[in-house]
């Protein structure tokens, strides 16, 4: 069986993407004013459009978190996920090139500033989203396969959290 379409890997990727974007949405929803400030710091969105763009990004994240769980809209959610991640990667890279390392990423971590690590993290998520494209049918798995997918997604989710925390620590180290 093609590895890209292996149901166990697909389910793992689906659960991981859903959890990551649900967390991202919840963080932005809780501190929306702070999030608007973070977006403004990127200096890529005109001031008049800041509120609209921030809301759109937040709603898109919520759509990805939910949509990727529903087989009929999974591909749309996966494409939206990759598009959003590519936009984030480009925005971060552009600011890094301009030397604005100190600005907060607004990506769910506390005081996490822009870095290459953040770009790599988003590239990895983009690759994970690739595994969920073209899986509009419900994933059929044995109970063992389902268990391994859930456990695998949990482990990958924790690795994602560790990576983010290390990036936050790096930002705090720079501040000191």
């Amino acid at each position: 069986m093609n590895l890209l379409h292996h149901p166990q890997i697909q389910l793992t990727a689906v659960l991981l993407i859903s959890a990551v974007f649900a967390h991202g949405f919840w963080h932005k929803f809780r501190a929306f004013d702070e999030y608007i400030e973070n977006i403004a710091q990127y200096q890529l969105v005109p001031e008049g459009l800041l509120l609209f763009v921030s809301r759109m990004l937040m709603v898109t994240e919520a759509f990805i978190a939910l949509g990727i769980l529903i087989p009929s809209v999974r591909t749309v959610a996966a494409v939206a996920c990759m598009a959003l991640l590519i936009i984030y990667i480009m925005a971060i890279t552009l600011n890094l090139v301009q030397g604005r390392h100190h600005i907060a990423c607004g990506c769910g971590g506390e005081h996490t500033t822009l870095s290459i690590g953040l770009v790599l993290r988003n590239i990895c998520l983009c690759v994970a989203a690739l595994f969920t494209v073209n899986t509009t049918q419900a994933v059929s798995l044995t109970w063992q396969g389902f268990c391994f997918s859930v456990l695998g997604a949990g482990a990958l989710g924790l690795l994602y959290a560790i990576w983010t925390q290390l990036l936050t620590n790096q930002s705090l180290m720079r501040r000191h």
Binding site: Q144, L151, A155, L158, I162, N169, H176
Partner: protein, 214 residues
């Protein structure tokens, strides 16, 4: 046999998750420590000069034969770091490596001058040769030490391009040395004053919050 493999696989996954939770908790604790532990700054004890004041202007000759003007406003936009030390001072020797590294990393805007106030010239020359300090101007001047009120070693004074003292203090570690640059960057005289101001503003913020609630 197959059941055993499945069970062992599930157990392994659980172990991976458990270990990941531990690693995350440790990384989180390090993050919390960074947030809570304030940076230690150089202790700014001095009765003659203070940060924000004009630096005493002096012309002194270095051991290399160069005439150096200390404390004068400079046209090249470079700041001066006066590092007071002595060949007899063990802490000074330990700080030479971080000093060289700081001089290299801040070379775009900073000139380091080493200053001492006593002893035989030969002793200082041996000290320079032993620790490869020839890249820095080395000044022996009692007047310089007195003018800058140096009573304890090692001591450093950071003078900006306008001849104003940016920060100063006793330097006992790399962290103290870096605190002088940090204080300049943040526009405060010492890191202690910065932390005090930050604590006060936080207390005022919390007090305002309590008042608003009541």
């Amino acid at each position: 046999m197959e059941n055993m493999l499945i069970i062992s696989n599930i157990i392994l996954w659980l172990v991976v998750i458990f270990l990941s939770v531990i690693v995350f908790a440790l990384a989180r604790q390090i993050g919390v420590l960074y947030e809570r532990v304030a940076p230690a700054g150089a202790l700014a004890i001095n009765q003659s000069i203070s940060a924000g004041a004009a630096a005493p202007e002096l012309s002194v000759q270095s051991l290399q034969g160069e005439l150096i003007t200390v404390g004068k406003a400079r046209t090249d936009g470079r700041s001066q770091l006066l590092f007071f030390l002595s060949p007899d001072c063990p802490v000074c020797k330990q700080l030479l490596v971080p000093l060289k590294s700081a001089a290299r990393s801040e070379q775009k805007w900073l000139s380091v001058i080493l200053a001492s106030d006593g002893g035989h010239q030969q002793q200082h020359e041996e000290f320079i040769a032993q620790h490869a300090l020839s890249e820095f101007p080395y000044v022996i001047s009692e007047l310089l030490g007195k003018s800058y009120g140096i009573s304890k070693l090692p001591y450093a004074v950071l003078i900006n391009e306008e001849g104003i003292i940016e920060s100063l203090g006793i330097i006992n570690s790399r962290e103290h040395l870096e605190s002088l640059f940090e204080a300049k960057e943040r526009g405060v005289s010492t890191l202690q004053s910065y932390m005090e101001a930050r604590e006060n503003s936080q207390e005022q913020y919390y007090a305002a919050q309590v008042e608003n609630k009541s």
